[in-house]
Symmetry: C3
Subunit: 354 residues, 3 copies
C-alpha cells in the first residue's frame, strides 16, 4: 500500500503564478463518557423513558478539515472550508458525513464569508472555553458552561442550546453572509442568515417564516485583557441574545466573567484556569441560570414545558477540566460537569491533531 506522508512542516511550492492550495487537517478523539441521564430500560432519573443506552459509553469523533484557497492578482484570497466528521456518542456509532461549505474572500484584516458561515455569536471571543473540546471533557458536554446556552424548556439536558448561527460540522449550516474585520487589538463581526419560508397549499400560504438572524460582536484586547460584547436579533422565539464577557491572563493563571440575557433569561458565569507542572492545565467554571419570571409564565411568554421545568433547570451548574499535553499534538483530557437538574457527566480520553 502506498504511503503518502503529509508533513507538519509546510510543503510550499513557490513557482508558478497561481498559489492555489488544498490543506487537510483535523483531529481525532476517543474516550469514555459517564452520563447519569442514560438508562437501559424503565425511566431515567427524571422519569423520562430510557433510551437503551448504558450510563457509560465509548465516545469518539474524527474530524477532517479540507481547506482550499487561491489568491487573485490583486491580492484577494478566495477560499472555501469543508469538513467531514464521524461521531459516536451514547452507544450510537455514526458514519462520516460532509457538511455544507463556507466560502470566503479576504483582504488584509477584512473577510467576507458566505454559505455555512461562522456566525458572529459563535465566533465571539470568550463564548467558549480555551480547552481542547471548547467545554470540558472529551465532547465538551454541550458547552453547558456557556451563558448563552439555556437549560429552560425541558429537564433532560435539552433546552435552548446553540440557537444561533454557527459553522455546522455535520449539516448545511445557515446559508448566510458575514463580514469580519480585525486591526490591532480590535475585532468585529456582523452576520446575517435567512431561511426559506415554509409554505403549503395552492396558492401557497405561509406556515412559518424562515429563521432570520442578525448577529454582531465587537471585541478588544490590550495587554493581558480581552473584552467582548455580542448580540443576536432573531425572528424566532427565545433567540434574542445579549452577551458580555471579560477575561484577564496573569502568567500561569487566567480568569473570566460572562453574562448574558437570553430573551429574558439571565445567566452569569465565572471561569478560571491555571497551568502547572510540566504539561498540566486545569479549568474550573460555575454559572447560574435565573428562573423564568412568573409574569412571563402567566402571560404565556413561555410555553408549558418551559414553565413546568423552570425550577428544575434554573440554578447553578459547574464543571472542571484537566488536560495533560502528551506532545506531538496529542493530549489527555478529563472533565466533569453537573447541571442544575443534577445531570452529571464525567469523561476521560485522548485528543490528537494532524
Amino acid at each position: 500500500m502506498k504511503k503518502v506522508l503529509f508533513a507538519t512542516t509546510a510543503l510550499i511550492a513557490t513557482a508558478g503564478v497561481a498559489a492555489a492550495d488544498v490543506t487537510i487537517s483535523g483531529y481525532g478523539r476517543f474516550g469514555l463518557d459517564y452520563n447519569n441521564a442514560n438508562a437501559n430500560t424503565g425511566v431515567n432519573k427524571w422519569g423520562y423513558a430510557a433510551t437503551g443506552a448504558s450510563k457509560t459509553n465509548l465516545t469518539s469523533r474524527l474530524r477532517l478539515n479540507f481547506d482550499m484557497s487561491t489568491e487573485t492578482d490583486a491580492g484577494v484570497t478566495l477560499g472555501a472550508q469543508f469538513r467531514v466528521q464521524a461521531d459516536s456518542d451514547n452507544g450510537e456509532a455514526g458514519t462520516g458525513g460532509w457538511n455544507g461549505a463556507r466560502f470566503y474572500a479576504s483582504y488584509g484584516g477584512f473577510e467576507l464569508g458566505v454559505g455555512n458561515i461562522y456566525g458572529a455569536i459563535e465566533w465571539a471571543p470568550l463564548v467558549y472555553l480555551d480547552t481542547r473540546s471548547s467545554g470540558v471533557g472529551i465532547t465538551g458536554m454541550n458547552d453547558a458552561h456557556a451563558v448563552i446556552n439555556v437549560n429552560a424548556e425541558n429537564g433532560a439536558g435539552g433546552g435552548e442550546y446553540y440557537n444561533w448561527d454557527y459553522y455546522s460540522s455535520t449539516g448545511s449550516g445557515a446559508n448566510g453572509v458575514e463580514v469580519m474585520y480585525s486591526a490591532g487589538g480590535f475585532s468585529g463581526h456582523l452576520s446575517y442568515s435567512e431561511q426559506n419560508d415554509e409554505v403549503i397549499g395552492d396558492p401557497a400560504v405561509l406556515v412559518e417564516e424562515g429563521t432570520r438572524r442578525t448577529a454582531a460582536f465587537v471585541s478588544y484586547n490590550w495587554s493581558n485583557w480581552i473584552v467582548t460584547l455580542a448580540a443576536q436579533d432573531s425572528n424566532q422565539e427565545w433567540e434574542d441574545k445579549l452577551f458580555f464577557a471579560i477575561q484577564g491572563d496573569f502568567g500561569q493563571y487566567w480568569a473570566k466573567a460572562a453574562i448574558a440575557d437570553n430573551d429574558g433569561i439571565k445567566k452569569y458565569g465565572l471561569y478560571g484556569g491555571m497551568d502547572f507542572g510540566a504539561a498540566s492545565s486545569l479549568v474550573l467554571w460555575v454559572n447560574h441560570e435565573d428562573k423564568v419570571s412568573s409574569s412571563d409564565v402567566a402571560n404565556g411568554r413561555y410555553n408549558n414545558d418551559r414553565a413546568v421545568n423552570a425550577d428544575g433547570t434554573a440554578g447553578t451548574a459547574y464543571g472542571v477540566n484537566y488536560s495533560y499535553d502528551l506532545g506531538g499534538g496529542a493530549s489527555f483530557e478529563a472533565g466533569a460537569q453537573r447541571l442544575p437538574n443534577k445531570q452529571t457527566q464525567v469523561q476521560a480520553g485522548v485528543y490528537f491533531s494532524f
Copy 2:
C-alpha cells in the same frame, strides 16, 4: 493546526516502479441569483404554488475531484474519478455528498470507461458553452442554451432537460460503459448504459423496463474550425436525439451554430463571443424551440402537460455572460438568461479553481 500546502506545481516522484498517484482539484463558486420564477407565498408568475424561496438568493457550490491512477508495465493507465460536491441554490443550503465513481483504462488515444460514465452526448464538443459555468452566470442556469435541452413538458423551467447519460456529480450516474478515441483532429465516443428493470409481485412482473441508452459522437477540428455530430437512441420516450454543430474561431472572436432534433422537437441555436480589454470576455446566445406539432398532440404522441404548455415553452430564448479574469485561477462572472415563458435569471459572483 497543521498546514499542508499542495502546490500547483506538480510534485512528481520518479523513483519506484509504480507510478500510482492521487490528485485533488476542484473549484468553488459563490454569488447572487435572481430568479423571477421564485415566490415566497401565493403563486408564482405562472400560477404555480410558491416554494417559499425569495426571488434573490445566495448561490454556491464547492466541488472536489479525486483522481486516482496507476500505469501497468504494458503502459496502460488504469484509473478512477470520484467527486464530492456541496450545492446551495434557491435558498436551500446543501451538504456535500460523494458521487458514483468512473473507472477507466486508457492507452494512447483510446479510453474505455465504466461506471458513472461521461456519456457520448454529454461529452460531444460544442454541446456546452466554453464558459466557467458551461452556460451563463454562476450556475449555468440549467444550460438552457443547449439545443438538446427541451422546455416542452411544463412551464416552470422543468422540461426534458439532461435526459442523457452524463457524469453525475451528486448521484451514482448511469452505470454504463463507453469507448473514446482521438487521433489528430478526430475524436469519437460511443456509450451504452442499462438500468435494472423494475418488477413487482411474486412472480415478478415487469413494471417498467430499465432505461437503456446508446449514444455516440464524432467530431473533427481543423485550422480554426470544429464540427460535431452526435446522436442518442433510448428505450424511453422523448430521449432520442440528433445533434449537429459547427464552430469557428477568428482571433478574439468565435461563433457557433447548433441544431438538434429532440424526439420530434427541433431546436436551433446561435452563439458568439469575444475577448476584449486586458481580461474580459463576453458570450451571447439565442436559440429557438419549435412548437410540438398538432398531429403529435392529437395522436397522443405528447402527454397533456406537454401539449398544454407547448405554446408557452416554444419560442426564443437568449442569454449573455460576462467574465473577468482575476488571476490565480479566479474570475468574476455575471450572466443573464430569458426563456420563452419569460422566466428571467440574473447572476453574478466569483469562481476560483484549486
Copy 3:
C-alpha cells in the same frame, strides 16, 4: 486544472517536533459479474421473485483509505482510520459514503483499537484467502470459501454471513474496543463490542438486548507454517463460533485446512494455490457445510426457514481464482464459485491500487 501528484515514494518531512501525517491510499476494481441467481422477471431458479437485475452485470468498487496519525513524546502512536467507498453490484450503481472511524493507540507490538474495530474473528489469520478480493473473482463473492460463513437459513445465498465484528467499509461498524499484540511469530487479538438495547414504551421495556460479542484469536507462525485458533461468544443466536486453521507454504505452492463450529453447524475447508509463469497465480478451494441436525430442527433450535432449506444449503461448495500481475499495482483477476444450492458466479476484471 491543478494537478497534485502524490508519489508512491514516501514524501517525508523530518523537521519539527510533531510527526502528524495524513495518508491517502486505496484501490479501484471493475469487471463483469455473471450470477445465475439473478432474473429479470418471473422467478429465479429457486422460485424466488426476480429482482429485475440481469444475470450479467458490471461490477465495480472504488475505495479510498484516509489514515491519520501522530506520535506522542513517549513514543505512543495515536491514529485513526477512515474510509470512503462506492460500490456497484447487480446492476445497481452506488454513490460513495464514509464509514465510521477506527481509533487506535499503539506502542511496540501492542495496539488498542476503539470504534469501528477490526474484530478478532475478522482479523484472524487464515480466515480469508490471500487473493486480491479476499475470496475469488472481483467481488470476493461473499467469501463463501470461509468456513465461518454459513449457508443455512435461506437458499438465495443469504444465510448467516459475516455475523461477527469487522471493520465496516460503508457502515458505522461495531463501536467496540480491542487489544492486539504481536511478538516474534506470535499474534493475539481480543475484541469486545456492545450495542444499545432496543427499548420502547414509557417506561421503556426491553424489546431486544443489544448485540454483545466477545472474540479472540491466537496465531503462531514458524518457518513455513502458520496456525490460528479463534472463537466468538455472542448473546445473539447463531453467532457463537470456533475456528481452527493451518497453512503451509512450500516454494511456489501453498495449502490450507480450516474447520469451524458455527453454533452447532460444522464446516470444513481445503485450500491450495500456486504461482506459475512470469506473473500468474491460481487458487482453488472446496468446503463442506454439515446439515442442521434433525434434533435441532425438532426442538426448535433452528427456525423454519433454516430447517426447510437445510438440505439445499448443506453440502459442498468450491471455487477457483486466477490472477495475472499487470505491474504498477494492477492485476487481472478471474474467478468462479459454485454453492451447494447450485448458485454459480463467474467474474473477471481488473484491480489497481494507489
